[in-house]
Amino acid sequence: MSVTIYVPCDAAALSMGANDVANAIAKAAPDATIIRNGSRGMLWLEPLVEVETDKGRVAYGPVTAGDVQGLVGGGMLEGKDLPLCHGPTEEMPYLANQERLTFARVGVTDPLCLKAYEANGGLVGLGKALKMDAQAIVDQVKESGLRGRGGAGFPTGIKWHTALAQEADQKYLCCNADEGDSGTFADRMLMEGDPYALIEGMVIASLAIGASIGYIYLRSEYPHAATTLRQAIKNWEDAGFFGWNDDGSPRFKLHLRMGAGAYICGEESSMLESLEGKRGEVKVKPPIPAISGLFDKPTIVNNVLTLAAVPYILSEGAKAYADFGQGRSLGTQPFQLAGDIACGGLVEKAFGVSMYELLYDFGGGTRSGRDIKAVQAGGPLGSFVAASEFDMDMGYESMAQRGAMMGHGGLVVFNDATNMGEMARYAMEFCEIESCGKCTPCRIGAVRGKETIEKIMRGEEQSKNVEVLEDLCDLMETASLCAMGGLTPMPVRSALKQFPADFMGTAKAAAE
């Protein structure tokens, strides 16, 4: 009897040597069947090897190629309790305490095996959608309460409704896979670990709005995801799952497009410009893309996680999804724990979980063992949250009330050795590097902002320069065309407000 062993092929697992481990296992246990699955999201344990036993899948990690011989010799193939063993994977608290709807299959199956996809609940949502009219699909999504996971949190059903209502000879569906925020990797994990969930969501969305052409705009920093997606699209097409028109032509054509290293291309109007082969400059709204987007046609832009949530909503019903979460933040969010965190990884939870639970119950505090000084929530444009605020509930409104932002669900942990003045300076620098250049407050403001923070930190005319910085932030907030310039003041101001000593610190003490 051949044992089945799972070794992840997710890029994060590969970054810790998963391929070497797979090779070592093939050598040490030549009769074993090795399946390359996605990652379970317990990234601190990667490469996490799982062995199929009659108790279920048993986890070992982090396994190095050098460990393999000993593990196999010690009884790993029988699921024996060895030093790196964590017991049955699904019983590990990190996983058992999650609510995995969107990520239900990620880490469980071979991402490119369509049979495994179907056997684990795939295609059910699409099957139901095919029997519904477009309006009924849109209504399901509306009722589910699903909001855009790309950052802005706009209700998905309402957006789709607008696109459906447009009369046009051509409509487009674009998946935003630009995932530029530091501290986020859920899109990547989903695309590498369960690409068919995204594709199924896109096919359902195309039925709902009447789009016949779709694009996935993927950032070029994700070559590994690109390879998986290309193969997944091909397999889906070969299986005939895009459907056909009456004349035998494919009903929906899905293309993968690579970005070229520009953070701003995650902003939807910039992304659409980029998809047209142009500079990714942000465009003035209105018109909104749902009315006039790609090539001036009605276009829906949705994040990877938004689209990947749709198959569940269709298969289990809007209510099942809306039963998770709280207030106007319904369903689940794949949170990502990053930076100085002991148990970094992916935690899909219903909205309403507290930041504290994520950081400590799941994350286990810092990796370094130092205290947490601040957490940046919601990406580079999100504010720094100090420890006194960790009791906040993770939801769009509940976070906004505390001056924080959900964004794409990333939490970046900084320990108490971090100088927050330095982080504020970096926020301005990042804006300088990534500004699309269209408006002055952002383009010039970021450069001035960086220089001003440097002056403050050098102890030059501190109170005057703090005033200059505040004025600059005001200007960027009120006069920027998009959130890049408009929200960069968030991390800057939150750092200055909560950690003034990091800006003034010793320099001020010396000056006085």
């Binding site: 994060a12 995932e179 590994h224 497009r257 690579m258 520009a262 082969g277 930076g339 970046v412 590097i433």
Partner: protein
């Protein structure tokens, strides 16, 4: 005559454009393709693309200069992308960069013949930082020793 000849200066670039149906909206893909083939974007390649897609050279330059990925100059023997975004900074990316700068006797984003250190802003490995990428291979929890070993292993592979 000169201009006529110029239009097909770069046969490979011409071929790549043709593969993309000479469609201007596929300019980014075309530039990626040409850069992958040549290592960087030469003047001749850009002129050929402009001709093939029937767009102005100014337009192409506008696009090439907008995106960080596109390179106008010949690259180093090895390019190490080092993430300097927040989550990697939180676990010592700046120290790693400083150490790498000393070791390879170069500066971040400085032109170099042997090893170029290129700043990058998130590689999607933020729970396992500091992260780096060489060619298309991603690495996590990289310290200076690991960086040196990875760099050397890649050199061996490509020689």
């Amino acid at each position: 005559m000169a201009t006529l000849l110029n239009t097909i200066e770069d046969a490979q670039a011409r071929e790549i454009c043709r593969d993309h149906g000479d469609r201007p909206q596929e300019l980014l893909e075309i530039l990626h393709g040409v850069q992958a083939a040549h290592g960087h974007l030469t003047d001749a390649a850009l002129r050929t693309i402009a001709y093939s897609l029937n767009i102005s050279r100014a337009e192409i330059h506008g696009v090439v200069s907008f995106y960080h990925d596109y390179k106008r100059e010949k690259g180093a023997m090895q390019t190490i992308k080092i993430c300097r975004a927040e989550a990697c900074q939180a676990v010592g990316a700046n120290d790693l960069i400083a150490g790498a700068e000393r070791h390879f006797k170069t500066k971040l984003d400085e032109k170099s013949v042997a090893v170029k250190l290129e700043a990058t802003y998130c590689l999607g490995n933020c729970a396992l930082g500091p992260a780096i990428m060489i060619d298309e291979d991603l690495y996590g929890r990289v310290d200076l020793d690991r960086l040196k070993a990875i760099s050397a292993a890649h050199k061996e592979q490509s020689s």
